[in-house]
């Protein structure tokens, strides 16, 4: 539980952080530290240098952009859960954030860290996938935008290159009702399986937590819904093309079963919150 030796520097700005990162191949950004520090204590991560962006004020904001809600990468889970703008325009994120870990975790963990860590059991990446979000990334080469659908490449692997910093999370405007279901045996647990569903301008999007190596879209469910199938029938397809883990808390089969049950519940919430609209997209 003692990390290997490492250096530590605090960055005052994104530019400074990028500069520090590019000088050292084994440097890592430190945001809330609630994923990286546990890995370091287990010596599963052995960075040479931590570049702490915890005090970079320019990364902490929620504002309205053109056609999207802009969320600074350093926004803490607690802020997501309570910020009026988030609650109004991206209620799904607020609902998800309230169910992450415990109060301590929610006051330290950040949205950017949660994405960059790339754990398929994390809740926010799936919710952002359901919301069709995209991520603004800065590096010495300039800025680029990566959409949620191509951001996650594998277990703890993302499209981020060394030296790249997520600066902003963009959630398209116009999202309607949503549903979120997280199944866990204990209140403090990560999701055994989870489902985030949202009515977006392009139809109902459904994404799954902890059902594969990356956050997955439930494509078969979405297709069934857009073909006009009833929600219950669509939900039965939630486990199609998933590859959930098997571990001491659940088998892969039980996770598949949960995905179907939870999808049905999440879709019911999407419907319930939008009276008059049936369980399929018009």
């Amino acid at each position: 539980m003692i990390p290997a030796e490492f250096g530590y520097r605090r960055a005052a700005s994104v530019a400074e952080a990028i500069g520090m990162l590019t000088q050292d191949e084994d440097a890592r950004l430190l945001a809330g530290g609630h994923s990286l520090i546990p890995l370091m204590k287990l010596r599963l991560a052995v960075p040479s240098l931590l570049v702490d962006i915890g005090k970079v004020a320019e990364l902490r904001y929620v504002s309205e952009g053109p056609g999207y809600l802009a969320i600074g990468a350093l926004t803490r889970h607690h802020t997501l859960a309570t910020n009026p703008l988030v609650r109004e325009q991206a209620g799904l994120l607020a609902a998800v954030a309230t169910e992450i870990g415990d109060p301590q975790v929610r006051h330290r963990g950040t949205i950017g860290g949660s994405l960059a860590h790339g754990d398929p059991a994390s809740d926010l990446p799936a919710a952002l996938l359901a919301l069709d979000a995209s991520y603004l990334v800065s590096s010495p080469a300039g800025n680029r935008v990566i959409s949620a659908g191509v951001f996650h490449l594998g277990f703890l692997q993302t499209a981020l290159q060394h030296g790249e910093v997520i600066t902003e999370i963009r959630v398209p405007s116009g999202t309607g009702s949503y549903g979120f279901r997280k199944f866990r045996a204990r209140s403090m647990d990560w999701a055994m399986a989870g489902v985030a569903a949202a009515r977006t301008p392009s139809g109902i999007r459904v994404a799954l937590v902890n059902m594969g190596a990356v956050p997955l879209r439930a494509a078969a469910v979405e297709a069934a819904l857009s073909a006009g199938r009833p929600a219950a029938e669509a939900a039965a397809l939630a486990a199609v093309d998933t590859a959930p883990p098997a571990d001491t808390s659940a088998s892969a089969g039980f996770r598949r079963h949960l995905a179907r049950v939870l999808t049905g519940q999440a879709l019911a919430d999407v419907d319930a919150a939008a009276p008059g609209r049936a369980g399929s997209v018009e």
Partner: protein
């Protein structure tokens, strides 16, 4: 004696302010000048021959002062394995550091001592050990079959045996109307104290004096162990137990790593501290439970239990601690439960597997015994089509049959089991619950009603010591052998003494946990402290009063009968005398006493519960949980309730989510709180509990044990309710933990 009457009052724990504000002093808070730190090199594999160990790189690492391996401990005595469990023990004892072979993943192979903890951990990674892997065995049945042999020529891997039989078992089975069979398994559990294990050893070569701070349940047993292993006199060793962040049985023996720490301190002449990490606690601290029971109950047509035949297999793990046989043997002695069963044959076999050893964990055999007896009662009811309360009433030992000697040789001193069961069912409103169940089932719900009755023998070890002294001005200092590690002795013992001596609790200081200031005692385990420690205190206080009166009489010439102790002073010989004035040693007047029990004191209780199971996810919900306990005289209802509540949460964790898992190669799969299902307050069921106070005749306080009640009664009552809920689906029995997946599978299969 006095009108104050502190005993029995809900006095708030005086310990809490300090502990809750971070002012407590736990082992890792103690820093001695020149202190070094020890890190442990552990086997990554479950079974291997040890090849070479290359310590050169570690020894040369910055700040490293010493590296020890198995060869360095060869000269020490092995830990004793003899235990007073009554089992025939074959051993072998847990080694301090492995030599030649490792037998579980996490077994200590070497230790590194360095100037800082970080330096020690860094250097430990540099110790190069060659492991020639051997096949591992993790399943006790496979181990018994000799699939892999752990020790020498013990091809059946048996580490201990115990057998008790009486009555004509064969005749009972031959004449039985029904034979009820049950194969039960209780998985291994991790005690998971918030503060993991650790110790700090310092050696004064000039005075040849060893001082060891240890996170332990008491100081005297560790001192005896240290004396035995290092061949020292107990007088040359001082053991101090600071605040302890929980133990639940898991610190009743010193860890092997602690002996290595002491050896390092002896070698280096500098203080050495070892504090394990959470991961190490999961890997290497001894675990609880791990018991299979293969049982048959012979039953008469009217439901009377005639004879029990049970074979218990304990998954002991790789080695024996002296306490390792205790839980399984205890389970054997309690397998007949609260029932009048005239004949029994109970056999316990402890089997070596390539896993960390097991030992006592809250309940230590009581929950296992209750689980066996209560599952058999439920299964008999199902087999005969009788109500589960009725089958119990027909078989419970009645109060008029006390004291009752069971067929497994246990004598239950007293108790009124039918009354406890009736009271629990009354609290639940059993008939209404059954009516509601019929309606719920009509609605398609999965709804279960359960009950359990259990025994909690307490006062184990059967003796304890105490000393009490009075100082000028009425300050009382009491020293007790039984050391609190969360039990609230400072509060409860002060209440007792306050009444006995007529002084306010604030004037009483309770000392424990230091062999230098506390008379030789046993400690805190097995629901014993109030019974033995509390009684010893009262005896010492009475002795103190008698001595004071005798001395006052001698000095004043007033006959003893005319003198009285009131409010900490002696009255009747002119102005009240302050007892210390009577002392020749000046300063204080003291007395000490030892309290001895003839046999354990039994407390008992009954739980009842209503549960429902969500068919779509398998989630279990506890709708009601009620309990009636006979804990004898309750000294402090707040503390007693706290014990019941904490035990209930642990018992509930055992029922629904806790389980240590290994893969087939002996790798631990539940090595952190992410994967090991310990519960938090959010998951705690709401318990409605009541004390039925029947004073025990076996001790002057009339107390019985209460520390293990929840842990003992709850797994059995949840099992009863869950199997009842699932019975329309054809489920007879399920082993815990009742996770959503297990329950969903039970629902979905049918």
């Amino acid at each position: 004696m006095t009108a104050v009457g502190w005993t029995g009052q809900p006095v708030r724990r005086v310990e809490d302010a300090e502990l809750l504000t971070g002012a407590g002093r736990y082992l890792d808070d103690i820093r001695l000048p020149g202190m070094l730190h020890l890190a442990v090199v552990r086997s990554p594999v479950a079974h291997a021959l040890l090849g070479g160990i290359d310590t050169a790189a570690a020894a040369a690492s910055p700040g490293v002062r010493l590296v020890l391996t198995g060869a360095d401990v060869a000269g020490l005595s092995r830990l004793p394995v003899a235990s007073d469990s009554g089992a025939q023990v074959f051993g072998p004892a847990v080694p301090i550091l492995a030599s030649e072979r490792v037998r579980f993943a996490g077994e200590p192979v070497a230790v590194v001592v360095a100037e800082s903890r970080a330096a020690a951990v860094d250097a430990a990674e540099l110790v190069d050990v060659e492991y020639q892997e051997l096949p591992a065995v993790t399943d006790p049945a496979a181990a018994l079959a000799g699939q892999v042999v752990l020790h020498g020529d013990a091809t059946d891997n048996v580490m201990f045996r115990w057998h008790q039989a009486s009555g004509d078992v064969d005749a009972a089975f031959a004449s039985a109307a029904a034979i009820v069979r049950a194969d039960l398994e209780l998985p291994r559990l991790a005690a998971a104290p918030l503060e993991p294990r650790g110790c700090l050893a310092a050696y004064d070569a000039a005075g040849d004096y060893l001082t060891v701070h240890a996170s332990a349940q008491d100081p005297h047993r560790p001192r005896r162990q240290l004396a035995a292993v290092f061949g020292r006199t107990p007088e040359s060793i001082r053991v101090i137990v600071p605040n302890v962040g929980g133990s639940f049985g898991s610190k009743s023996m010193l860890a092997p790593e602690a002996f290595a720490t002491v050896l390092a301190a002896l070698r280096l002449g500098r203080p050495v501290k070892w504090v394990e990490t959470r991961s190490e606690n999961f890997l290497a601290a001894y675990q609880g439970r791990g018991l299979r029971a293969d049982c048959e109950l012979a039953v008469a047509a009217d439901g009377r239990f005639l004879a029990l035949c049970a074979r218990l297999t304990s998954d002991v793990g790789a080695y024996l601690y002296p306490v390792s046989p205790v839980p399984a043997v205890h389970a054997g002695t309690l397998a007949t439960g609260c029932y009048d069963i005239p004949a029994a044959s109970v056999e316990v076999t402890g089997v070596a597997t390539n896993k960390v050893p097991t030992g006592p964990y809250r309940g230590a055999g009581r929950p296992e015994g209750a689980f066996i007896a209560e599952r058999l009662a439920d299964l008999t009811a199902a087999e005969l089509g009788l109500d589960r309360a009725e089958i119990r009433r027909r078989n419970l030992i009645g109060p008029d049959a006390m004291p009752y000697r069971t067929a497994v040789g246990t004598t239950i001193d007293s108790g009124d089991f039918p009354r406890l069961l009736d009271r629990a069912l009354e609290l639940l409103d059993y008939d209404a619950a059954l009516a509601e169940q019929r309606q719920a089932r009509d609605r398609g719900e999965i709804y279960g009603v359960g009950m359990s009755v259990f025994l909690e023998p307490g006062g184990m070890g059967l003796w304890e010591s105490a000393a009490v002294s009075v100082r000028p001005g009425g300050q009382v200092v009491a020293a007790v052998g039984s050391t609190a590690h969360g039990q609230g002795h400072q509060t409860a013992f002060a209440q007792l003494l306050a009444d006995e001596l007529g002084v306010p609790p604030a004037a009483i200081e309770i000392r424990a946990g230091d062999t230098a200031t506390v008379p030789v005692g046993l400690g805190t385990f097995g629901s014993r402290s109030a019974i033995t420690g509390g009684s010893a205190l009262i005896l010492a206080a009475r002795e103190l009063k008698a001595t004071a009166i005798k001395l006052a009489s001698e000095r004043s010439g007033v006959p003893p009968a005319e003198l009285a102790w009131r409010q900490g002073k002696i009255h009747g010989a002119g102005p009240p005398i302050d007892p210390p004035e009577l002392s020749v040693t000046a300063g204080e007047l003291s007395a000490s006493a030892v309290f001895r029990l003839e046999q354990p004191v039994y407390s008992s209780g009954a739980y009842a519960a209503i549960v429902s199971i969500d068919a779509s996810t398998g989630v279990l919900r506890v709708d009601r949980l009620v309990a009636a306990h006979d804990a004898g005289k309750v000294l402090n209802p707040l503390i007693a309730e706290g014990q019941v509540t904490g035990g209930t949460l642990q018992g509930f964790g055992e029922a629904v989510s806790e389980q240590v898992s290994y893969d087939a190669d002996g790798q631990l799969l539940t090595g952190s709180f992410l994967s090991y299902g310990i519960l938090s307050a959010t998951e705690a069921p709401v318990l409605q509990s009541e004390f039925v106070e029947v004073p025990s005749p076996l001790n002057p306080l009339g107390v019985r044990g209460v520390g293990e009640t929840g842990a003992t009664g709850v797994p059995a009552v949840i099992a009863s309710a869950v199997t009842d809920a699932l019975s329309p689906l054809g489920v007879r029995h399920l082993d815990p933990p009742y996770t959503p997946e297990v329950l969903h599978a039970a629902v979905a299969v049918t």
